[in-house]
């Protein structure tokens, strides 16, 4: 993992910035919502108190004065849904489709009736669906209203209207007076229709006629018996019915304001009036993608995830139950249409003289505050995005700069190490006074020290050879003088041994300064066109004489084409010969007796290659790269000749002077070693 990647990883920590921002936004959103709740509750409370001053509006028939709260919440009380279209009493329900059925089930459970109830303008409309296996029509001969299957509807006027049909179709509504006489009621339209498994009855009457109360019972005549069932059966008086009144709507719409929906319900939860729209009037200005992202981020917050149930009855709502107990509370709902929107609903009881008259529900969309936080989020997003991009860019740039400097240092060091030819590259310096700069300086110093050390080693041999020469001359001249003295035999032996030792010392000293002398001759070398193939052929013959213990083989030279110009190269012949001498000497010293040394010649368009290929022990892997350095020897100690590790260094010097390179590697089969010298045709002169 390089520095860049590491820094990218570290800069991922920057992502905590938007996270922290989001946390803050959540906090803000939460407190805003709390604020919104409190605000809405306060508003609702004020409106509820205002409405409580005028209970008549809420209960147009003065129910409050006459009834107890028990009857007000009677489960059998009618609720009339508002219906836009006018109702035609024809016994069919095509105009009723949007009005839900209400089920009535008798106490024993053996009878059930479905009915619908609606208010359309000033009319009250009812639609009954009565199951009856055997429909028995009214026989007007017996009586007009007291026989046959019939339905009895009780109203607030005290009159019980009876609906029975002689035949399917429009029927006449009648009522019985206490005297037992039957009267017609012409203000009520009704129609009877047969239906599968029973009959349907549709009734339309003026709203005022009901006087606020409604109840019914079904009288089902059959051959065996007469069954009566319905809520009216157990009641002295019909309960108040609830409907959405224009007066109530007018009353609450006075309080409506943008983004607020007010709902007025009966204590049982039936809707009396609604007004306004909970949608926020200042929708979010943020980009849709941002606001979506924002909502996604906040969605995990503490919303109660119950979905908002739309309907005519609010009794199921949590806040409503609390309001029924007399306390106003708030509750959050998920908007069923838009999953990321929420609805705040506050219910407040309206009391009059300690009695629960109605419940006021105020609803507001979460967008009211979300719009604000949306904007904050957009700003936060933009801000943190730009901060992150900037910082990431800066970090990347910084990392690049750092790694560039380190790479430069690495390259310079590598170059110095690889070159190893005594030229130390000026180490890169910079004005930044930091650790890398210090490291660079340290490296520079280190390299300088190493270079000084190498230089010292190189000059040491030279200096030593120079300094040793004078004492050696004293020994030599003394011994020479001694030989002219009359000596006995033993003294002569010792004198001879001393002479031999001094000579050996002399050759050692000469060897020590050999590299220096080669450098000198390189400085003075003159290049000429040399036929390398001819030179090799000539010199191999000479080697055969000199190294009789080894066999020599020269390959790659065609005698017939030897004079061709491709065998010719600009070179210093003496140096080349010296180089070959060293290589052959080296090869010969490692080749076992009677081993073979192969000199392979190859001429290509770009260079001439000479491989010295000999049997013998392999090179240690670790040493192969520094084999050609000064003072490096891989020979085992104890060999008779002096080896200072100069020979191959001299080879390297000479080859480099010719612009070529020399490498050493083991034969792939492990049987020996190959030294390859490559001499390019177009040489770049370097001294």
């Amino acid at each position: 993992m390089n520095l860049n990647k590491q820094l990218v990883c570290v800069s991922l920590l920057l992502l905590s910035l938007p996270w922290a921002g989001c946390q803050y936004l959540k906090e803000m959103d939460h407190s805003l919502r709390l604020g919104q709740e409190a605000n809405l509750e306060a508003t609702t409370k004020v409106i509820a108190q205002a409405l409580a001053q005028n209970p008549a509006v809420l209960q147009p028939h003065g129910q409050l004065a006459q009834t107890t709260s028990k009857t007000a919440t009677d489960s059998n009380a009618f609720y009339c849904f508002p219906l836009e279209a006018p109702v035609w009493a024809d016994g069919y329900d095509e105009e009723w489709l949007e009005v839900p059925w209400t089920d009535y089930r008798s106490e024993g459970g053996q009878h059930s009736v479905r009915y619908r109830c609606a208010v359309s303008g000033n009319s009250l409309a009812l639609f009954f669906s009565v199951p009856d296996k055997q429909v028995i029509y009214n026989n007007p001969i017996q009586s007009l209203a007291s026989n046959g299957d019939r339905l009895e509807l009780a109203t607030g006027s005290g009159r019980n209207y009876i609906f029975t049909a002689v035949a399917p179709g429009t029927l006449t509504t009648r009522y019985l007076k206490n005297s037992g006489q039957t009267y017609r009621e012409s203000r009520i339209d009704a129609a009877w229709a047969d239906h599968e498994g029973g009959y349907q009855l549709e009734i339309k009457m003026p709203l005022a006629l009901a006087q606020g109360r409604l109840s019914f019972q079904v009288i089902d005549e059959s051959v065996q018996a007469v069954n009566k069932y319905g809520p009216l059966l157990n009641q002295d008086e019909a309960p108040w019915f609830t409907y959405q009144s224009a007066a109530a709507k007018q009353a609450i719409s006075a309080f409506s304001q943008p983004g607020l929906r007010l709902l007025l319900t009966s204590p049982a939860g039936w809707l009396i009036a609604n007004s306004g729209d909970p949608e926020s009037q200042n929708p979010s200005q943020a980009h849709w993608l941002l606001s979506k992202l924002y909502r996604a981020l906040l969605s995990s917050s503490d919303y109660n995830n119950s979905s908002y149930q739309n309907g005519a009855n609010y009794a199921d709502h949590q806040e409503f139950s609390a309001a029924q107990q007399g306390t106003g509370t708030s509750h959050w709902y998920r908007d069923p249409q838009r999953s990321d929107h929420h609805i705040l609903s506050t219910a407040m009881p309206i009391e009059h003289d300690g009695e629960l008259v109605a419940i006021l529900i105020a609803e507001q969309s979460s967008e009211q505050t979300a719009g604000l936080t949306d904007q904050a989020f957009s700003r936060l997003f933009l801000l943190s995005f730009s901060v992150i991009s900037l910082t990431a860019l800066a970090l990347l740039g910084y990392a690049n700069w750092l790694s560039w400097r380190i790479r430069r240092l690495h390259r310079a060091t590598q170059k110095t190490l690889v070159d190893g030819n005594g030229i130390i590259e000026q180490h890169p310096t910079s004005r930044a006074n930091d650790e890398i700069d210090q490291l660079t300086h340290s490296y520079s110093d280190l390299m300088k020290r190493i270079q000084e050390y190498t230089d010292y080693l190189q000059t040491l041999a030279r200096k030593l050879s120079h300094e040793l020469r004078t004492p050696l001359a004293i020994i030599h001249s003394s011994l020479d003088n001694l030989s002219s003295q009359p000596l006995n035999e033993q003294s002569q032996t010792y004198q001879q041994r001393a002479k031999d030792g001094a000579l050996r010392l002399g050759s050692l000293i000469t060897a020590m300064s050999e590299a220096r002398r080669v450098e000198e001759s390189i400085e003075q070398a003159e290049l000429e066109d040399i036929n390398i193939a001819a030179l090799l052929r000539e010199i191999t013959a000479a080697y055969r004489d000199s190294y009789q213990e080894n066999r020599f083989k020269l390959t790659g030279i065609d005698t017939s084409t030897i004079e061709r110009p491709e065998n010719t190269l600009m070179a210093a012949p003496e140096l080349l010969v010296q180089m070959l001498d060293k290589l052959i000497d080296n090869a010969s010293s490692f080749t076992p007796a009677d081993g073979e040394i192969e000199i392979a010649y190859q001429s290509t368009a770009y260079d001439i290659c000479i491989d010295i290929n000999n049997d013998g022990p392999l090179l240690p892997e670790a040493m192969q790269s520094q084999l050609f350095d000064n003072l490096v020897s891989i020979r085992k100690k104890g060999s008779d000749k002096a080896h200072l590790g100069m020979g191959l260094h001299i080879v390297d010097l000479i080859v480099k002077f010719h612009g070529g390179n020399v490498t050493a590697h083991n034969r792939s089969d492990g049987s020996g070693v190959i030294f390859s010298v490559m001499l390019p045709r177009s040489i770049s002169y370097s001294d």
């Binding site: 004293i474 002399g506 000539e538 010199i539 004489d545």
Partner: protein, 229 residues
């Protein structure tokens, strides 16, 4: 009269060893450890031969100065450098200053002696009539053994004793390859191969200075050199 040899050498042991050897051969030897004392003595009487070290005590290149001085006083006085320095630069400088030979200190006493003798002989030969001289002629080359002079195309070649011996050894049997060792033996020097190579190079240059087409000394790679008539 015995020949007088002056040894200017700050290393007293060497100087005395040489003195002993020379005196044994019947030379008269005086030793000077530094340049001033040598100059003082030379002011009164010039020696017949001067053997000078380059580094003289404090004076790193005192020998060179002394050589220059001596050469100013006498054109013919044989001057030989004997130094531990073996760089080409020092050799060239020494010979340019007019020295007759440049020897490194690893040379053996008999070799030095041979050189001294040869130099004296050359001086003597120059003063004697040419009649009895032994002359080797190889084409344009004419070698006078006694005078140790070499002529190419009748032009004299300015050479040192070492160079003369190398040329003579090569030219004696034209076509025959002389190894470096053989050339060293002939020149009475113990040198490494490189020094012979640079001697050969120098000799070639001297010939080429007289004749651009000089090509008589051939290199036999890996073996040595031969005279190509």
């Amino acid at each position: 009269m015995a020949k007088r040899i002056a040894i200017v050498e700050d290393e007293i042991s060497i100087a005395e060893n040489y003195r002993d050897a020379f005196m044994q051969q019947g030379y008269e030897v005086s030793i000077y450890p530094d340049r001033p004392s040598a100059m003082q003595a030379f002011d009164q009487l010039l020696p017949d031969l001067a053997l000078i070290d380059i580094g003289l005590g404090e004076e790193v290149e005192g020998g060179f100065e002394l050589c220059r001085d001596l050469r100013n006083r006498s054109k013919t006085l044989p001057i030989v450098f004997l130094s531990a320095r073996e760089s080409e630069f020092d050799k060239v400088s020494g010979l340019r200053l007019g020295a007759d030979d440049y020897l490194t200190k690893d040379i053996s006493l008999p070799h030095v002696m041979a050189r001294i003798v040869a130099l004296f002989r050359r001086i003597e030969a120059l003063t004697q009539p040419e009649a009895q001289e032994e002359i080797i002629e190889r084409g344009k080359l004419a070698l006078n053994k006694a005078r140790m002079t070499v002529n190419w195309d009748n032009q004299p070649l300015d050479i040192t004793v070492t160079e003369f011996w190398i040329i003579r050894d090569l030219a004696r049997y034209p076509g025959q390859v002389k190894s470096r060792q053989q050339l060293m033996d002939a020149a009475n020097v113990i040198l490494d191969d490189n020094t012979i190579t640079s001697h050969i190079k120098r000799i070639r240059k001297k010939f080429q200075a007289l004749d651009d087409d000089f090509d008589a000394i051939k290199t036999a790679y890996g073996m040595g050199y031969r005279w190509h008539a």
